[in-house]
Symmetry: C2
Subunit: 340 residues, 2 copies
């Protein structure tokens, strides 16, 4: 019987040869496996295909994968028509980089990198990673798109290869928002973090690396700190939903599209040290007046917030507003590129 290790090494040699040939056509021979064909899985497929990776998209049912493929083809041509297609390959070339499978063994075979995008249910993730441990090559990176679970939670029980598991958390919508948080479990190899970061840069995303896992990673910790205070301000009747959102969209958020919170402080004084020496005590004093962490449950305040949100954007208009958001994000990223 031929060992899995032997197959992996043969495959690696073959890949090396074919990579050379394909590179002339800006196509790569390295294979990327995407697990889950929902919105996020499709976006990742397009991102990897945009620079010519050989992408295989997996889901459980043939209807899911064939449907995803149709959606991707339509989307690639729509992006081209809008001048928003990423990379230098044509929509047809990018589409030709993507294939589908419902066979998980076929998916992982020779893949250099797997991007998992299954629903946010911990037991499903644990089952999947337990299964992956038995079938992946020892060099395959297993990256989860999860926004919720620290990587230790679904990789701890793996019999092998858990050092190749990492979180690569995108924001919604990933095709237009470049941020990807890279979060290692305690046992993740440093090299896995480095290679994932390089891969993200290669596909045009902007990775940030956490040195260790933490609940909510960096993005949601910051986002939830904002939501807590916004919730309290509205629940306490201090401002309306429309006005509290405007604090961002007409104020803080305009700066944050270019400058992070610390660079903002750096520029608003003679450097960040001067800023905190002047305002640090005030930040602390105001922070002492925050109310308790709100419980964002169904009922009183949620009904009030939902009613005001639906006044701003009725539920029926959510898809149109999302399309407007995507258009805005595209133009905003183009504007930022001009300034770079």
């Amino acid at each position: 019987m031929i060992s899995k290790k032997f197959i992996c090494s043969i495959a690696a040699s073959l890949l090396a040869t074919r990579t050379h040939l394909r590179s002339m056509h800006k196509m790569k021979n390295e294979k990327i496996g995407i697990i889950g064909s929902g919105l996020i899985g499709r976006a990742w497929s397009m991102l990897f295909a945009s620079v010519g990776y050989k992408v295989v998209l997996y889901d459980i049912l043939p209807e899911q994968t064939s449907n995803a493929l149709k959606e991707i083809e339509k989307e690639l041509h729509a992006l081209q028509a809008k001048g928003a297609l990423r990379g230098t390959l044509s929509p047809a070339e990018q589409f030709s980089c993507i294939s589908v499978t419902t066979d998980i063994g076929e998916l992982v075979s020779n893949a250099i990198y797997l991007q998992e995008c299954i629903p946010e249910r911990l037991e499903w993730k644990r089952t999947l990673y337990t299964e992956l441990a038995d079938i992946v090559c020892s060099e395959t990176i297993m990256a989860s798109s999860t926004s919720t679970y620290m990587p230790s939670l679904f990789s701890e029980q793996m019999k092998q290869h858990r050092e190749n598991v990492v979180v690569a958390h995108p924001l919604n919508p990933p095709y237009y928002i470049p941020l990807v948080e890279i979060v290692p479990a305690p046992w993740t190899k440093a090299d896995v973090v480095t290679r994932t970061r390089e891969l993200m840069l290669e596909i045009g995303q902007k990775p940030v690396t956490l040195t260790r896992q933490i609940e909510g990673f960096a993005t949601n910790r910051i986002q939830y700190a904002i939501l807590n205070e916004v919730w309290r301000l509205v629940a306490d009747g201090v401002v309306s939903v429309a006005d509290v959102d405007r604090v961002m969209t007409e104020g803080l958020g305009l700066r944050y599209a270019l400058l992070g919170p610390l660079e903002t402080a750096h520029l608003n004084a003679d450097g960040v040290a001067d800023y905190f020496q002047r305002f640090g005590a005030e930040v602390y004093a105001v922070s002492q007046t925050y109310g308790p962490t709100p419980k964002m449950e169904a009922g009183g305040n949620l009904s009030k917030i939902a009613a005001e949100c639906e006044e701003m954007v009725p539920r029926a208009q959510l898809p149109a507003r999302r399309a407007q958001r995507d258009l805005f994000l595209r133009e905003l990223c183009a504007l930022k590129k001009q300034l770079e």
Copy 2:
């Protein structure tokens, strides 16, 4: 002796007549007084002049006011050259709307609205508002640009007219960031809030109204919640300054330039009620893991943060980076207008 009230009413009639004449030239006859000729005072002067208000800018020393006037003239022409001048009047017309004085009595005489922009020192503000109480007309709105002090703190002691005091807090730089927070003291008349809001809309700013005063108002409460968590993440060694800033500039901040925190949630699920029903418990759980409020004092972590900030933007390059920020904000606001 002719009473102050009588002079005020005569002035009001005169204003009514002259307003009609000046309106043909898009100039207004209503007078706006600006107290303090620093960066913020000059920005307010230009904003009010951009729609033709008769602006009088006050400061203590003639050198301050004449210097401010020179700066404003230069800036108006520079804005015109960059295509960034606000309003429909020419730079010369806008400049002709602005005069200066070092006589506080002259400043307040017949002014419909005063915008105070003196340094953030409470005792100075208390002294100023105590003095204003004796000399303003009963209809004059007294608005403070303070970001720090609740309006009750400097208006409580006023012998009269404290019901006309309100905070109108701009963000930096006010010419490019439209947000203005309007914050009433407990005794501020509802009508003063309404008129201030209308005035802000008229000059092209985007007001948000707080129903009552609260430490840090809305903007700094949200901004400080962000800074606290950003500080902790960097101080705890979880991410670098550059990466934590990137969480905003390549992620959250891109969305926040168009969508507030609640509309973001509204769009990221089937409406905001669905969002919080699905993620509310997670927001709460993550929030339980925030560390204590950091003290942002000189020393250990501030030195580390300052060193990393200065690696991103050396102090000598702060002015150039501020200019880039302003250029970006201008283009961003133009982009948002296109989408409206």
